[in-house]
Amino acid sequence: MSKGKKKMKFELFIFVFILSMLLAGCSSGSGSSGSGDGQTTVTFWHSLTDTTGDAAEAVIKAFEEQNPDIKIKAVYTANQGEGQNEKLLTAVSGGNPPDVAYFDRFEIGSWADQGSLEDLTELAEESGITKDTYYPFAWEEASYDGKLYGMPISTDSRLVYFNIDHFKEVGLDPNNPPETIAELEDAAEKLTIKDGKRFERIGFIPWFGQGWLYGWGWAFGGEFYDPETKTVTANDPKIVEALQWMTDFAQKYDVEDIAGFTDSQGDGAMDPFLTNQLSMKVSGPWEVSAIEKFNPDLNYGVFPMPTPNGENHTTWSGGWSVVIPKGAENKEAAWEFMKFFSGEEGQKIFSEIARDFSVIDSVNEELGYTEDPILGEFVKILPVSNNRPVMTQGSLYWNELASAVENATRGNGTPEELLENVTEKVNKELNK
């Protein structure tokens, strides 16, 4: 062999080697194509761990038994929550998405508007699935512009947890928890023990835990969105009132001292409500399992978020859904899986293991959630629960409201002007 030929071979080898490496890097990693034996593989991206992960696994197992021709390939992808969907985002824009994704319903509006979710309206109609099966807010949150984009899976609601022993200690009646804002303030004051700048115990912190402005705004009777004009209404006088109340609270107890207190606390077993340092806290049903796990002796109860006049108690709910990202390969098989997951059978399996509420009322009843003294309260309020507005700028609105609360309670501007700014900024984006 001549030297030149050898050299050429070597060059060719390098070239092919590099090329193959590049191609391997670019090629589809999802493996969502059908395999040889007539079985369709559906790739399912989710962010479920621990008990919810086990629950999803059980659902998949049951589904595969009933549908031997479909195989579900579940892939864990972290951070699939409030605006943290980078991985799905790039997968969709790269044209290589999974067939099904576990998806925060709150994000459906903006993703559907970007044209990155498959329209499920027709598939649902063909399968005879209607909104009557589900809680109204769950269906509404999964739809955008009159079309269905996701199948609801789970939900929650928010109530105020309170420490019964603390109530008794300061002479409050635990069977008669606060109903009005004034009663709540009164109870908070009685329960708080402050020594100089340090809190030994705080009665209540409106914005702690799940005390988002959404909850208080609705409790005060405000509306965050006008579906007619498709504009946000954060400057609703009732919402301004709610934020004013939070701000007054911050001033009364000194917000930096409260921050000093809350920053000293942790999550899980270190949560101040679990360590008896906070007497009342807005939270969701998941708190129950945390209490069972870390402080089973805690003597506690729940009551709805108080309102100014003590009537029309409400709350808000979020939750998850399953969606088909735009460009998914096996839509039909994916739909079968979603139908099962979101249907009564799948819901029963998932909800029972995950201890997350089902989006179907009868399932919650069947699983005994309604009879539980604590969880029952959460289920009871679901029919009047609100959902965050379905809109293209859901994440922006959420962030803006959260910083409005931060800024108002820290004294950077009045609630009125801050919410005026939020309204202006979000509406400007909505009109683009």
Partner: protein, 322 residues
């Protein structure tokens, strides 16, 4: 492969050119391509990577900054609208303020502490290797772990920092929970990780010839005069390097505040840094066009500052042998 092995052989490689000269030179001059061929081939993964994952996105972001690109949709061409919107975006200005605040305090402090530490670690004391290792160790800690660690240290209730302050009778602030103290807290945290710069300063110190100090000693200079007139001037090339790198890093501050505040920039946006807001716009709010515009503004700012440092460097940077 044979040809290659020959070249690597030290004995033969010294012979080959000589042989080749005898035989091959009259034949013809090798073309440039055949000289660079292997080099380019071996570098090609890097070159391709640089082009595909760096150059193309970089230059397309110029175009995107003039559109409403959202990653999922190409968007429309809107001219300078993104830039105009930015100028009236209060959170943008807030993030600029936070970032400049951080850079103005952090960069000089990191140089002062870095040089001071390097000088101390340059003393001839027993077990210096151990001290040097100790000061370098924090840089090995990932930013996320660093954030968690410092959240504990600065914990207003049980934190070590407030605990120590307490023994002196000082009631410490809420640190990360306080609007006034959140940025200083972040500066303190970042200063903890200057080991990398210290290593470079140490190398710079090692480069200063002993002769100067000997001469100064003969002239009766004290330690301050030596530091002021020998060490610092001859360390300026290294300080210059660290200044430029420090400015760039300070303006790109992201991981630490993002982890500390779960991306929220709390309290009250006092930790919303420029790149954090950029990231939110691009990946949370579907405003990649807007985010691209922000990126280019940042690029111009950093470029301008770097240029400024380079221009002034002629006056204060002293290279040895010049």
């Amino acid at each position: 492969m044979n040809g290659n092995a020959q070249k690597l052989d030290p004995i033969k490689s010294s012979e080959t050119p000589y042989e080749k000269q005898l035989k091959l030179v009259p034949k013809k001059k090798k073309s440039k391509w055949s000289n660079y061929k292997y080099g380019i081939l071996f570098a090609s993964p890097w070159i391709l990577g640089l082009l595909i994952f760096y150059a193309i996105p970089l230059f397309s972001s110029i175009y995107f900054s003039f559109t409403t690109y959202s990653i999922l949709q190409p968007g429309e061409f809107v001219g300078l609208q993104n830039y105009k919107d930015l100028l009236s975006d209060s959170l943008f200005w807030k993030s600029v303020y936070n970032t400049v605040y951080f850079a103005v305090f952090f960069v000089p402090l990191s140089i002062i502490f870095g040089v001071a530490l390097a000088m101390m670690l340059n003393m001839k004391v027993k077990g210096m290797a151990i001290y040097r290792t100790i000061f370098f160790l924090p840089t090995l800690v990932p930013h996320v772990a660093l954030a968690v660690l410092w959240m504990w240290l600065l914990n207003p209730g049980f934190g070590l920092v407030n605990g120590v302050l307490n023994t002196f009778g000082i009631e410490g602030p809420a640190w990360l929970g306080s609007v006034t103290w959140s940025k200083p807290s972040l500066i303190i945290m970042s200063l903890w990780g200057i080991g990398q710069a210290v290593i470079i300063y140490l190398a710079g110190l090692g480069d200063i010839p002993e002769d100067y100090y000997d001469a100064a000693k003969v002239d009766g200079a004290n330690w301050y005069q030596k530091m002021r007139h020998i060490t610092l001037p001859l360390l300026t090339p290294v300080i210059f390097f660290n200044l430029v790198m420090g400015i760039i890093a300070a303006f790109q501050q992201f991981t630490l505040p993002y982890t500390l505040t779960q991306g929220q920039g709390t309290p009250a946006n006092s930790l919303t840094f420029y790149v954090m807001y950029l990231y939110d716009n691009g990946f949370k709010f579907f405003k990649m066009g807007y985010a691209s515009a922000m990126a280019w503004i940042l690029f111009v700012i950093i470029m301008a500052l770097t240029a400024l440092v380079f221009i002034t460097s002629k006056r204060w940077v002293h290279y040895q042998g010049k």
